[in-house]
């Protein structure tokens, strides 16, 4: 059975009147890549700081390997942390930065040298020992920061938006690298980000956080395909949002009035006639064609623009009621669509997620 390495029990932290983290329960298992995804100011950094021991929670317990470390100082927790701004020691060389945790933990010189060599190879920067941080590029700095985090094989490595300061190309590359380090070492990673793409690319499991509370925790595909709240549906993946009043209740669907368009949505708990319902449909779950057949929701629109995104194209469609939606289609899609074409868009009821919250 997989062991839980980090466990939070009813952890709460306030700063003045602001509740940064509100009664959070969380478990991170051995060898797991766990992403915490949330908008900025949602309390995700505070959560990491509590695990690292930089903040003491007002309530609740923090357990690392079944030991209650709630009141332990950071230097007795054997964790690691990688920061958005790299936070390398500017007066120390790459080698000195990396072996810092080993020195602090009293490892012998030979051991330090051995580990340094190993980790420099891991991050593919051998020969960089004597450089200073300011002589490194952003990507190299973050590799060194990762090496410093991994060299002592901490019980858990926390990463606070580590790729946010890197450009897009580098970020893609580093996403793969970070994941590789994690798989190779089997150290649990807690990865905090506001970038859902990063979270979905790298993680095994995912926690969605909003206003200091967990919205949903689970397998990333589970959250992607079955969001439990409108926040989860709106934040993970890219969706079109339809909001309107329930005008009719059928056996297996609600009928919603969306700016004079009738849309059928899956039923959700507690929905009554007259309630406002929010329907999320992922852009890639929408069909597009000149003439759609056998699809439960179909409507007409005009192609206003087609944005090339690499493997897929985002078609911007203006519906008859002037609402604008996005439909993502694979680049290899046979349907030929030009700007200002009249088209049909549609999706099956079960492709959408409806909420009355």
């Amino acid at each position: 059975m997989e062991k839980t390495v980090v466990r939070l029990e009813q952890v709460r932290k306030t700063f003045g009147r602001v509740v940064a983290v509100d009664r959070i329960d969380l478990g991170v298992k051995t060898g797991e890549f766990f992403a915490v995804l949330g908008p900025s100011g949602s309390g995700k950094t505070t959560l990491l700081r509590i695990i690292a021991g930089l903040e003491t929670p007002d309530q609740g317990r923090v357990l690392i390997e079944d030991e209650d470390v709630t009141l332990y100082p950071p230097y007795e927790r054997y964790t690691g942390m990688v920061f958005q701004e790299f936070a390398l020691f500017p007066h120390k060389t790459v080698a000195e930065n990396i072996i810092f945790p080993l020195r602090m933990q009293g490892h012998l010189k030979d051991e330090q040298e051995k580990q340094l060599k190993w980790v420099l190879n891991l991050i593919k920067l051998p020969g960089y020992e004597d450089r200073f941080p300011h002589q490194l590029s952003g990507g190299e700095k973050q590799r060194v920061a990762l090496a410093r985090g991994l060299v002592s094989r901490p019980k858990v490595l926390m990463l606070d938006e580590p790729l946010a300061n890197l450009d897009r190309e580098l970020r893609k590359e580093m996403e793969v690298e970070v994941r590789r380090f994690q798989l190779e070492l089997g150290i649990p990673f807690i990865y905090v980000t506001h970038n859902q793409e990063e979270a979905l690319t790298m993680s095994d499991r995912l926690a969605l956080i909003k206003d200091g509370s967990l919205v949903q925790v689970g397998d990333k595909l589970e959250i992607y395909n079955h969001p439990k709240t409108s926040f989860a549906a709106g934040f993970v993946g890219s969706s079109n949002l339809f909001e309107g009043e329930i005008v009719e209740i059928e056996d297996d669907a609600f009928v919603m009035d969306y700016k004079d368009l009738k849309i059928r949505t899956p039923k959700c708990e507690g929905g009554q006639k007259g309630d406002t319902v929010k329907l999320f449909v992922k852009t890639e779950h929408m069909e597009l064609g000149k003439q759609l057949k056998g699809i439960e929701n179909t409507m007409e629109g005009i192609v206003r623009d087609s944005i090339f995104k690499g493997q897929y194209v985002d078609h911007i469609i203006e519906l008859k009621n002037k609402a604008v939606i996005t439909v993502s289609r694979n680049i290899s899609d046979r349907v030929q669509i030009k700007r200002e074409d009249m088209v049909q868009v549609g999706w099956n009821i079960q492709a959408g997620h409806a909420f009355t919250d």
């Binding site: 930089l54 100082p73 230097y75 054997y78 701004e85 007066h91």
Partner: protein
């Protein structure tokens, strides 16, 4: 017309730099050159005589009295600098880290004694430490003996010095800490450094330049001062500065005084150079190079 002339880089530099340069030349460089020249002359009956010789220097470096006072002053300045560092660092650290929006007020408060003159501050010290000062009066009133060691001794001089110059030390370290990223300490702690170790590994080296500035700003005025030992040091508390001052006063031996001044200058220069040797900008987190 004027604006066209001003567009010339040399003219512009001259306009801004010349006044300061002229000022420094007339009021700093010229006097120093004249002192250097006088130091190789001799004085006879209060009159300087341009009779070139190195006798003054020979006297300073061979007669124990002069060497003794120089060594005493160096010891005093070292001691005072060390105490200022020890007391000043925590204060600067606290203000920079925890001061928040009160930082500036707190800092100005540490310099509050500067609102009065140096002499006044020293006399005030005398009124606290002296035989009929606040401290000993109080002790006498509750039936205790006065603290001898605080009455006109080197110790009371050093207390006065620390009191006088500690704002410089606090200011220098504070300014350095303002640019210090305290988050680095959190990083160090996560990676296993206990608080003092984190300080020693991170804060101390990254703020060493500011610390050196503070040390120099305390060391040099202490080395040259004559008022503090005069008021607080008593009979046996005389320092190099007092002896130097005497040359220009009572004894009227300007040439000797000038030579002593040159020696003082050289000692200061040597101290600054020695501290400069400890500064490796790369090792202090400065970019470039």
């Amino acid at each position: 017309m004027i604006s066209r002339v001003f567009r010339n880089r040399r003219v512009r530099i001259g306009f801004f730099v010349l006044p300061a340069t002229a000022y420094l030349f007339v009021f700093l460089i010229l006097p120093m050159i004249s002192i250097l020249i006088f130091s190789f002359w001799r004085t006879e009956r209060y009159v300087l005589i341009p009779d070139w010789n190195v006798h003054n220097y020979v006297t300073i470096f061979t007669q124990w009295a002069y060497i003794k006072f120089l060594l005493k002053s160096i010891t005093m300045a070292s001691f005072v600098s060390a105490i200022c560092l020890l007391y000043g660092y925590p204060v600067a650290y606290f203000v920079a880290k925890e001061g928040g929006r009160y930082r500036l007020i707190l800092l100005i408060l540490t310099a509050a004694p500067f609102f009065t003159g140096t002499l006044l501050r020293i006399t005030a010290m005398q009124h606290i430490l002296g035989p009929i000062g606040l401290l000993n009066m109080f002790l006498a009133n509750i039936g205790l003996a006065p603290i001898q060691v605080l009455m006109y001794t080197n110790l009371s001089s050093s207390i006065g010095f620390v009191y006088l110059w500690i704002p410089f030390m606090i200011l220098a370290i504070y300014l350095s800490l303002l640019n210090f990223d305290f988050e680095l300490l959190e990083v160090a702690k996560i990676y296993g450094a206990k608080p003092f170790r984190a300080f020693w590994e991170i804060t101390w080296p990254l703020n060493w330049v500011g610390t050196v500035v503070g040390l120099v700003m305390v060391f040099i005025p202490t080395l040259a001062d004559n008022a503090t030992p005069l008021f607080l040091g008593g009979m046996f508390g005389k320092l190099y500065g007092n002896i130097l001052f005497n040359q220009f006063g009572e004894s009227g031996t300007w040439a000797m005084g000038s030579a002593m001044g040159v020696v003082l200058f050289l000692v200061c220069f040597a101290v600054i150079a020695a501290f400069g040797q400890t500064i490796n900008l790369k090792r202090m987190g400065y970019f470039g190079g």
